[in-house]
């Protein structure tokens, strides 16, 4: 990889073939350099395929990665505003796990077929997307995965949650790659007890993982547009992500 320190990039809307060979919208950002780059699938949070998550995809391109973010709500709400699409998806019970895995697999295939790909691909997700990043890593062959405050991996979600959210810890033995987990100590979903349980489970299975929990931070501490933003946690978290993907995705 040749890192473009100027951060020059191109970003655009594309279509990828996801679950069921259906075409879904995705946001793709790539460095303008001529090198070979690792790929990152960015899995958006429950509020959807929004401006702030597109900014995250562009940040990865500026860091020297091919980044693609599939619109997980495209089927429910093609062309709708992100908040309307998120409401439509919620009303229908959320994104089924099987469909999520198919959509991420499609995004991975797009990245690996890209002429600038170095053949390595990882995932990162936030909130429900953090759980879905873990789901991807126990379902698909990956080189790295990052899960930011992933609720629903260890404990079942509260009553009233969409039926598709089932705990995933029992599938830890299938984790295909190193995992970076970033958590807020004041978060309740996942709470510190869940983080400790997952840490212990992965250690007992000999699965490579690196967890960081930030004091004074709760859920969604990376989210710059919300009161939950915690600058110290977010800055350290970005450093951890850059180092982790640098080790596992950059060639």
């Amino acid at each position: 990889m040749t890192k473009d320190i100027r951060g020059d990039l191109k970003a655009q809307t594309i279509m990828v073939r996801g679950h069921g060979d259906q075409e879904i919208e995705a946001y793709f950002a790539e460095p303008l350099g001529e090198g070979r780059y690792g790929g990152v699938v960015v899995i958006h949070h429950m509020p959807g395929y929004d401006r702030s998550t597109k900014e995250i995809a562009r940040r990865f391109a500026a860091m020297g990665y091919l980044a693609v973010m599939p619109n997980l709500y495209h089927r429910e709400a093609p062309g709708a505003s992100p908040d309307d699409a998120a409401a439509a998806a919620r009303a229908q019970g959320g994104v089924p796990d099987e469909r999520l895995v198919g959509d991420v697999a499609g995004a991975i295939a797009y990245l690996k077929a890209h002429q600038k790909s170095n053949g390595k691909v990882g995932t990162i997700g936030y909130c429900s997307g953090g759980r879905q990043s873990f789901l991807s890593a126990v379902s698909l062959p990956l080189d790295a995965a990052v899960a930011c405050y992933p609720g629903g991996v260890v404990n079942a979600p509260p009553a009233g949650a969409p039926v598709s959210f089932t705990p995933l810890i029992g599938r830890s033995k299938d984790l295909s790659c190193p995992l970076l987990g970033l958590f807020g100590e004041e978060d309740k979903f996942p709470g510190p007890d869940e983080v400790a349980t997952l840490d212990k489970e992965l250690s007992s299975l000999g699965k490579e993982h690196e967890f960081h929990s930030y004091p004074g931070a709760g859920h969604a501490f990376f989210d710059v547009d919300r009161p939950s933003y915690r600058v110290e946690a977010a800055l350290d978290g970005w450093k951890r992500i850059e180092a982790f993907f640098g080790r596992h995705l950059a060639s």
Binding site: A80, D84, A88, A91, A161, F165, H219
Partner: protein, 86 residues
């Protein structure tokens, strides 16, 4: 936290959205992150008509105390339907 808690209510009535008035079919009621309100979590209501597409939506995000006041007022108004002449 991301609560995912969602209650679904079937409705009969109308709402006014960006495209004007439309018939409502249901509401999603949930406690989770708001899109706009300056709080980490709010009680949110999406009044929807799925048959008209995702944009047929009236959305509100309320702090929990406001949601309780609204619920009290709604119950009082609904009760008056039985007490007052039709």
């Amino acid at each position: 936290m991301c609560t995912y808690y969602t209650d679904h209510v079937a409705l009969e009535g109308s709402g006014k959205g960006p495209q004007g008035w439309f018939s409502l079919g249901e509401a999603s009621v949930y406690y989770d992150h708001p899109v706009h309100a300056p709080a980490e979590h709010t009680v949110n209501i999406d009044f929807l008509n799925r048959s008209l597409g995702p944009s047929a939506r009236v959305a509100v995000e309320l702090d929990p105390a406001s949601a309780r006041e609204l619920a009290r007022a709604l119950l009082a108004a609904a009760d008056s339907a039985g007490a007052l002449p039709a």
